[in-house]
């Protein structure tokens, strides 16, 4: 199965810019489906980025983050070719992770 995480990490000298797009419904638990039944809440709670053995960014999300979440941030201390590990877990206990090479 293809990964739910799409990531682009580009090094610009000292600074690495990371852009991520994750496929996830991010259901709030407040929306009804076609039959008028509530769709239960289903959303990513924690998203972590680790590089060279340390966390470089941690996101805690609620239901107000849009469907198929997008995130952009930058960090120092990595170089081209380093591995960036991205992992998430949602409120139902599901998770996914991927590793991207910094370009």
């Amino acid at each position: 199965m293809a990964s739910s995480i799409r990531v682009r990490a580009t090094s610009n000298g000292d600074i690495t810019e990371v852009q991520t797009l994750i496929q996830h419904p991010m259901d709030t638990g407040l929306v009804k489906d076609a039959k008028g039944e509530l769709i239960p809440a289903h959303y990513i709670q924690e998203l972590k980025f680790a590089c060279n053995g340390r966390d470089v960014f941690v996101a805690n999300w609620g239901t107000a983050v849009s469907k198929d979440p997008y995130l952009k941030f930058s960090f120092k201390g990595a170089k081209k070719g380093d591995d960036l590990k991205i992992s998430w877990t949602d409120n139902k206990g599901a998770s996914d992770e991927t590793t991207a090479k910094i370009a």
């Binding site: 709030t28 960014f57 941690v58 999300w61 849009s66 941030f73």
Partner: protein, 161 residues
């Protein structure tokens, strides 16, 4: 604290007696927020609160002061409340976390980000907005809280079909 066993019980007792007033009075204030920031656990309770002020208090344990060193970028008018691009950047030093609050959403706290050393204090994401509301970014820098707020008009809400 008092149940601690120590190789120097008398010295500990004397020290405790001397500073107990200071510890009770001041000790809790600076340490509680530091614990909250260092805590890696998902802040479940803060995400459940409806009111913005309550959510800020639950997450950080105190209130923020407005700062012009925070640049909060959000559209004036969002045509689709389901996807509102919001970003924040700050020139404040020693930023440890940035959180987004949407006052009129069913739950005010939308997202909270932790910034370890070496991570640039800026983040861009996309949030849902139920209706026209103020959006507040709270920046925790050097143990203090700062905020920036912007009003976003929503023409189609993000929580309906």
């Amino acid at each position: 604290m008092t149940t601690h066993t120590s190789p120097h019980p008398t010295r500990r007792l004397i020290l405790q007696g001397a500073v107990s007033v200071a510890l009770i009075g001041l000790g809790n204030l600076p340490f509680a927020p530091a614990r909250a920031a260092a805590n890696d656990k998902y802040p479940e309770e803060a995400f459940k609160l409806k009111n913005e002020a309550d959510a800020i208090k639950a997450l950080y344990g105190r209130t923020a002061e407005p700062s012009d060193k925070i640049k909060l970028d959000a559209p004036e008018i969002a045509e689709n409340g389901g996807v509102v691009p919001i970003s924040v950047a700050t020139t404040l030093d020693k930023v440890t976390s940035i959180s987004f609050f949407v006052a009129e959403n069913p739950n005010a706290l939308a997202a909270s980000y932790k910034f370890p050393d070496g991570t640039i204090p800026a983040v861009a994401n996309r949030l849902k907005m139920a209706k026209t509301s103020s959006v507040t970014a709270i920046v925790e820098a050097d143990g203090k809280l700062y905020s920036a707020t912007k009003e976003v008009k929503v023409t189609v809400g993000g929580c309906g079909g």
